[in-house]
């Protein structure tokens, strides 16, 4: 049975995140303001004040506490949500790793922003890239509707009995956080219906007052190794699980996003451009234009960044002649884009073809259509044997 048509509101990415979180009926919500996600905290507080959000709201004194509160509430058996950005994520780093190690199925929205080092009140993906080895599931979305839909899907994924891992839902800070778009807000009962399967599964382990059960035992030697192994295999299961949840979401709400990756005109494509977040939207337009010029180019939007969608990417990229990857952050120590670096690791499976790394869109700089045209043109030329530059910092070459 299809979901009823939801109310359409023109709202910002931040407000969208708050709407989605509210409809998932969290038990405990924490918020600590930071640019550019503060509006999420404000909107959730407003929902709470208006009686729309029936949850424990904890106005913590810092992000570190925000994460500890939601992780502990989650281990106690509750549904928990928080949001942050950039330095906020850095400040909760110890708790972020503890949350995943404890298998606390928290959902956290992140309005991506550059991280400390150079003061930058501006968008970029360095924050989540810095957290890619924290054992969290990381999903990157493109527009406001996808923020809404993905937060709901994220709870299904996080709290799934086979997964039990925290999920970060990432959207471009500044661009999407403050951009108002028309968003279809699903009806409460339809969100309930979508989350219903979580109630049918076995109860996950939790803290029971008075019962001799500890959360956070001292895992030593083989005990530690076993837990790490189980964590890794749960991460692995999250890849296909996301595809399944995305498909189910599509069946109910009529919108789906390809699960781990979204492929656009990849089937017959000779070359592929890879992007994530809002840049994927721009890239889609440019791919259309280039197709009209006769260039067989396709687009892959990476949605799932952790766990890395290896199998899906290999299937989509095998046989392609060249790949251009656009990153909004850097990989220190490799001097290239992080997604590019990860794509390189797939070479043994997809064959050695020219792979080009483009660093663009850092610190609020736009990833423009001419930029993506350039990516496509150079990748196309590389596919035809022309020499190419491995890493290009687009803003520095303009």
């Amino acid at each position: 049975m299809k979901a009823q048509k939801g109310q359409v509101k023109v709202i910002t990415g931040n407000a969208t995140a708050a709407y989605a979180a509210m409809l998932c009926r969290p038990d405990v919500v924490t918020s600590y303001p930071i640019t550019p996600m503060s509006e999420v905290a404000e909107q959730l507080s407003a929902f709470h004040a208006d009686g729309i959000l029936d949850a424990e709201m904890v106005e913590v004194e810092g992000e570190n506490s925000a994460m500890n509160v939601v992780a502990a509430a989650s281990i106690s058996g509750g549904r928990a949500f928080t949001a942050t950005s950039s330095w906020g994520l850095s400040f909760m780093y110890d708790a972020v790793q503890q949350a995943s190690g404890f298998r606390a199925p928290v959902v956290m929205a992140i309005a991506n922003r550059e991280t400390p080092g150079i003061l930058a009140v501006s968008g970029g993906q360095q924050d989540i890239v810095s957290a890619r080895d924290t054992g969290w599931i990381q999903i990157i979305v493109e527009d406001c509707q996808e923020i809404f839909d993905t937060i709901i899907m994220a709870f299904r994924l996080a709290e799934d009995y086979d997964i039990q891992l925290p999920v970060m839902v990432n959207y471009d800070g500044f661009y999407l956080s403050y951009l108002a778009q028309a968003v279809e807000i699903a009806a409460r009962e339809d969100v309930d219906r979508f989350l219903e399967p979580l109630k049918q599964q076995p109860q996950r382990p939790r803290l029971v007052p008075g019962e001799p059960l500890g959360a956070g035992t001292h895992g030593i030697e083989i005990g530690f190794v076993e837990l790490r192994y189980k964590h890794c295999t749960a991460m692995e299961r999250a890849t296909t699980k996301l595809d399944k949840i995305d498909k189910e979401f599509g069946e109910l709400f009529g919108r789906s996003y390809g699960g781990q990756i979204e492929e656009y005109l990849t089937g017959d494509a000779e070359i592929i451009v890879i992007a994530s977040g809002g840049a994927a939207g721009t890239a889609r337009t440019v791919v259309d234009a280039k197709r009209n010029e006769g260039i067989k180019v396709g687009l892959i939007k990476i949605r799932l960044f952790r766990p890395f969608p290896r199998k899906r990417l290999v299937e989509a990229l095998r046989g392609k002649k060249a790949i251009g990857v656009i990153d909004r952050s850097v990989c220190f120590g490799w001097n290239c884009g992080p997604m590019y670096m990860e794509l390189r690791a797939l070479s043994p499976d997809i064959g050695v073809v020219p792979m080009l790394s483009y660093i663009d869109g850092m610190a609020n700089l736009d990833i423009t259509t001419p930029h993506i045209e350039r990516v496509i043109d150079e990748t196309y030329a590389a596919a035809r044997g022309k020499p190419y530059q491995e890493v290009t910092w687009i803003p520095l070459e303009e």
Binding site: V58, S65, A66, N68, T217
Partner: protein, 309 residues
């Protein structure tokens, strides 16, 4: 016979008539006051609680190892930065589902006064329904006796060692219980292991007050190893801390201060410092400074107690 039973202290009841949630052979040092505190707290508060702790001297026993455990308590371990905040999450969730749960944080001073202070302060300000018990052994005793912000003036620790150019820690201890009481907490008290009856009363009060708001109990808990004192001297050191006014026993209920143990003729501070070798290097002038600090702090508490009366 009946009279004899009447005389029996409540501490006896707690110790001998309640089930011990700990197994034998726990990994604490001989003479450890933290062990006494850790055993005493659940006996008074009851086993139906969630204990929240972090790395420190309490951790090896509280955490257990892999699937092994030394106690039968419900336990949540987290990092030193996350104790009061994790307790908030636990307390809020159980409040949301309508379950009355006593959430007890049990950490050392390194967590409470230093690295975990921000969340502790935040939780107190939000008036979370948590009991936070800090066992103050005046430093990082678990990691090798380094100084913390509750290490007293002049104490020689592994990071403030006494030497030709050093007289130990150059600054006095952060006055944690006072700071916590000024947060407007529902109940704040100091306690120590030589005065178990007093400690028990305060724990019972804590349990009563925790449904109104934040409770903080600061327990003076000497460390035989770190302070370099005999393992059979710990309770006597606790007693002398009270009798010298080095560690006055007081409580503040809804901001109203009261001394729970008045010392008629306070002993000179040397009687407290003498058996503790972390003070052994101090000269008379240094001891005088310590005495001055003790007198000032005691006068301050006395003054606060006078306000309400």
């Amino acid at each position: 016979m009946a009279q004899q039973e009447k005389k029996k202290s409540r501490v006896f009841d707690y110790f001998c008539e309640k089930e011990d949630p700990y197994v034998g052979g726990v990994a604490w040092c001989a003479g450890c006051t933290l062990e006494l505190a850790a055993r005493f707290v659940p006996k008074v508060l009851g086993n139906d609680m969630v204990l929240v702790g972090c790395p420190g001297c309490s951790a090896p026993v509280f955490y257990g190892q892999n699937t092994g455990a030394w106690h039968r308590l419900s336990y949540f371990s987290c990092l030193m930065t996350g104790v009061a905040s994790s307790a908030t999450g636990i307390s809020r969730y159980f409040r949301r589902i309508g379950k009355d749960v006593t959430v007890v944080c049990f950490t050392g001073d390194g967590c409470a006064a230093d690295v975990g202070f921000q969340p502790l302060s935040g939780a107190a300000e939000r008036n979370e329904h948590i009991i936070y018990i800090c066992y103050d052994n005046e430093g990082y005793m678990n990691t090798g006796y380094q100084r913390s912000s509750t290490t007293p003036l002049g104490a020689s620790t592994s990071t403030t060692p006494a030497g030709i150019a050093s007289k130990g820690k150059p600054t006095p201890a952060k006055n944690m219980p006072l700071i916590m009481s000024l947060h407007g907490a529902a109940y704040v008290a100091t306690a120590t292991l030589s005065h178990l009856e007093d400690f028990a009363k305060k724990l019972l009060k804590a349990k009563e007050k925790k449904n109104e708001g934040f409770v903080y109990i600061h327990v003076f808990a000497p460390c035989n190893m770190g302070w370099r004192m005999e393992s059979n001297s710990s309770i006597q050191v606790c007693r002398m801390a009270v009798r010298t006014n080095y560690f006055p026993l007081w409580e503040a209920e809804n901001g109203k201060f009261r001394l729970t143990q008045e010392t008629a003729n306070p002993r000179p501070i040397q009687e407290f410092t003498r058996p503790i070798r972390k003070f052994a290097h101090l000269k008379e002038a240094d001891i005088d400074k310590l005495q001055q600090m003790v007198d000032e702090r005691y006068a301050f508490i006395k003054g606060l107690c006078a306000i309400g009366n």
